[in-house]
């Protein structure tokens, strides 16, 4: 188990290192000239000295490989950005400063990540509970009216783009009936009730759409498992139906669902940008989008890296969970 884990983590780290080199190279090879971007905020034309000063302050006058090493070291041990009297201390984990607002990128991430985290965690609960239970019931009651309605709805729901579903929810629940107000994010630490009520719409939108896919998957998995010999054996030796379904069949059927859920959550944590845009939240995805449109590369770099960390970490977690849940998986 330990060897398996170490091997997986090593592979994940290599992938992350490659992602960081590639993104850094891509963003910093392109001559966007961040010093001019920063300086151009005041309406005055930039003098060459001022550009040079900003470059020194941001450490952009260094060769690119040195900038990369500095950047990576900043993440783990902190660094000093720039040199001379304009030098700034940036404690670990340091992601640099925004080209536009000069705010530490770490602060921006710390402000926006909880928003995305809140959206994804709640939505994941919705789609897992709703999707898996509908799929399971559908499989156990195969051919009934419930099953047919569930299959039809999930078939249609799986094709519903959030570009339509999100605005539809807004139209129906907010603008036409006034049941909910347009969401405004409040941190959970401030007011848990306001936090939850603001997030109801994105939870429902993202959760409901995904639950369609999960219901289809859960139904197919459960049907396959129910036709297997060990289920018949368990029934034949006199176990009650519920014990067979809940203990034996569920465990086997849920493994692929855990895999896909883990990967989905990893991907969504990197930013649920459409959901955030539709409902007016400023999460990680929306921040990345705005930063990219402004060519604010330190923020983009940080969000790409963070999202890659989530995806890769989700992969490792899924591999481990797989081994824990499914006794048929043997590690060596």
């Amino acid at each position: 188990m330990l060897r398996f884990l170490v091997k997986k983590i090593l592979l994940a780290l290599t992938t992350l290192a490659a992602v960081s080199v590639l993104t850094f190279g891509l963003f910093f090879v392109v001559p966007t000239n961040p010093a001019e971007l920063m300086c151009g905020q005041g309406k005055t034309v930039c003098s060459a000295e001022r550009v040079a000063m900003i470059e020194r302050r941001m450490g952009l006058d260094q060769p690119i490989h040195k900038q990369y090493v500095d950047f990576m070291r900043g993440i783990f041990v902190g660094r000093t950005i720039g040199s001379g009297e304009t030098a700034r201390e940036c404690p670990a984990p340091c992601l640099g400063y925004s080209f536009r607002s000069d705010e530490p990128v770490m602060n921006i991430v710390a402000r926006t990540l909880p928003v995305t985290l809140s959206i994804v965690s709640g939505a994941a609960v919705v789609w897992l509970v709703l999707g898996v239970s509908i799929g399971m019931i559908s499989a156990l009651r195969q051919g009934t009216v419930f099953d047919r309605i569930a299959v039809g709805t999930s078939l249609v729901g799986a094709s519903m783009p959030i570009l339509l579903f999100g605005p539809l929810l807004l139209i129906v629940l907010v603008y036409e009936t006034g049941l909910l107000s347009y969401p405004r994010y409040t941190p959970i630490t401030e007011n848990p009730l306001a936090w939850a009520s603001a997030l109801v719409l994105p939870w429902f939108a993202l959760g409901f759409l995904n639950s369609a896919t999960y219901a289809r998957l859960a139904r197919a998995q459960m049907l396959e498992t129910l036709s297997e010999d060990f289920v018949r054996t368990a029934r034949a030796k006199g176990l009650p139906k519920l014990a067979v379904y809940a203990r034996h069949a569920l465990r086997a059927a849920i493994t692929p669902i855990v895999t896909i859920a883990g990967l989905d959550i990893g991907i969504y944590l990197g930013g649920t940008v459409i959901t955030e845009t539709v409902f007016g939240f400023t999460g990680l995805g929306k921040t990345a989008l705005n930063a990219a449109l402004n060519l604010d590369m330190p923020i983009v770099m940080a969000t790409v890296l963070l999202a890659a960390v989530f995806v890769v970490a989700a992969n490792v977690v899924v591999d481990v969970l797989y081994a824990v849940i499914d006794p048929r998986v043997r590690l060596n």
Binding site: A158, S159, P161, L163, L164, G271, A292, T303
Partner: protein, 332 residues
């Protein structure tokens, strides 16, 4: 193990319900004919196939529709808007404007959707086809050659999967635009669509490559491959004349399921403002324009979103039907 039946299957499914019927006097039926027969018997396939055909026809004949309808995608009707920019009457629907008038800018929504479908389908089909070619070549090479070639391709594949797609798009599109056009130049109409296609291909080849690689791994030890090798066939012949014809069924299924995901992705990127730009009509951008007026003219959002939804739904249903028809496990 010959070329023809599998190719027929590909053609048959691509043409959909409009293909040639099975000839009754034949006793032995090729797999392609069987698949086509199953497809023709499937009511969902007929309906979704017909829907797709209508969408494709509308997109292809957009200029003709424009002439018959009498309104172009860039024509504006400011006299049909009130002082606040809202359309007069119910969303501006009348005999000349079947789906109403866009608030603010005063364009005809119907012709926007007609041309938007054209943009959407053109990008999706080009993207999916190029994805398919890249995925097939890399997958077949990795699977057949094995060794370090396989290791490198698999590693790149895992790397691509670790890249957060949306955030990376945000980063890449503005950078590429900046690189090619600078901050002020007018972009060519073709630049954005071509860039989107490129990004889709770079990110989407993985699923096809993985599938093809897996299939090739199990096929390459078969006798017909060995026979070809023994009779001195070159590598190109082995890969593309011997192996590839046996892979058409699963490849076709991924292709047909790739199309709707590209339609969704393209709409999402345009919705977020980094996809197709003004003045090219586009479904995603139409929805993003409509969201500004969602409170006062909800029908605008619903019309645009529903078109996208129906397009994706038709693709998904037809893709499912193709898969069922080609599935060797289903009864003959």
């Amino acid at each position: 193990m010959t070329v023809t039946p599998a190719e027929q299957a590909a053609e048959a499914a691509a043409v959909g319900a409009g293909g040639v019927g099975p000839e009754r006097e034949l006793i032995g039926r090729s797999p392609g004919r069987l698949a086509l027969m199953r497809l023709r018997r499937d009511r969902v396939a007929i309906v979704s196939g017909a829907m797709l055909l209508v969408f494709i026809l509308v997109a292809v004949c957009a200029p003709l529709i424009e002439r018959l309808y009498g309104v172009g995608p860039l024509d504006r009707f400011p006299d049909r808007l009130d002082a606040n920019g809202f359309p007069l009457g119910y969303a501006g629907v009348d005999a000349d404007h079947w789906l109403g008038i866009q608030p603010g800018i005063g364009r005809d929504i119907f012709i926007q959707i007609v041309y938007g479908l054209r943009t959407s389908l053109m990008i999706a089909f080009t993207g999916a086809t190029l994805t398919l070619i890249l995925g097939i070549v890399l997958g077949i090479v990795a699977g057949y050659l094995g060794g370090w070639v396989d290791a490198v391709i698999t590693w790149v594949l895992d790397l691509v999967l670790a890249f957060p797609f949306y955030i990376f798009c945000f980063a890449m599109v503005p950078l590429a635009v900046h690189q090619f056009y600078g901050p002020r130049d007018q972009e060519s109409v073709w630049f954005r669509p071509a860039l989107l296609v490129l990004i889709f291909v770079l990110f989407n080849w993985t699923s096809t490559a993985r599938l093809v690689r897996g299939q090739v791994l199990s096929l390459r030890e078969r006798e017909f491959v060995e026979a070809a090798r023994a009779s001195g066939a070159g590598l190109g012949h082995l890969l593309f004349r011997q192996l590839l014809p046996n892979l058409w069924a699963p490849i076709l299924v991924t292709y047909s399921l790739n199309l709707p995901s590209l339609v969704t992705a393209e709409a999402a990127l345009s919705f977020l403002g980094i996809g197709v730009l003004e003045p090219t009509p586009d479904l995603g951008r139409l929805i993003s324009d409509s969201v500004l007026y969602i409170r006062d003219v909800p029908s605008f959002t619903i019309v645009g979103g529903t078109t996208l939804f129906l397009l994706v739904l038709a693709f998904n249903l037809f893709g499912d039907a193709v898969r069922d028809a080609l599935d060797p496990k289903s009864t003959r």
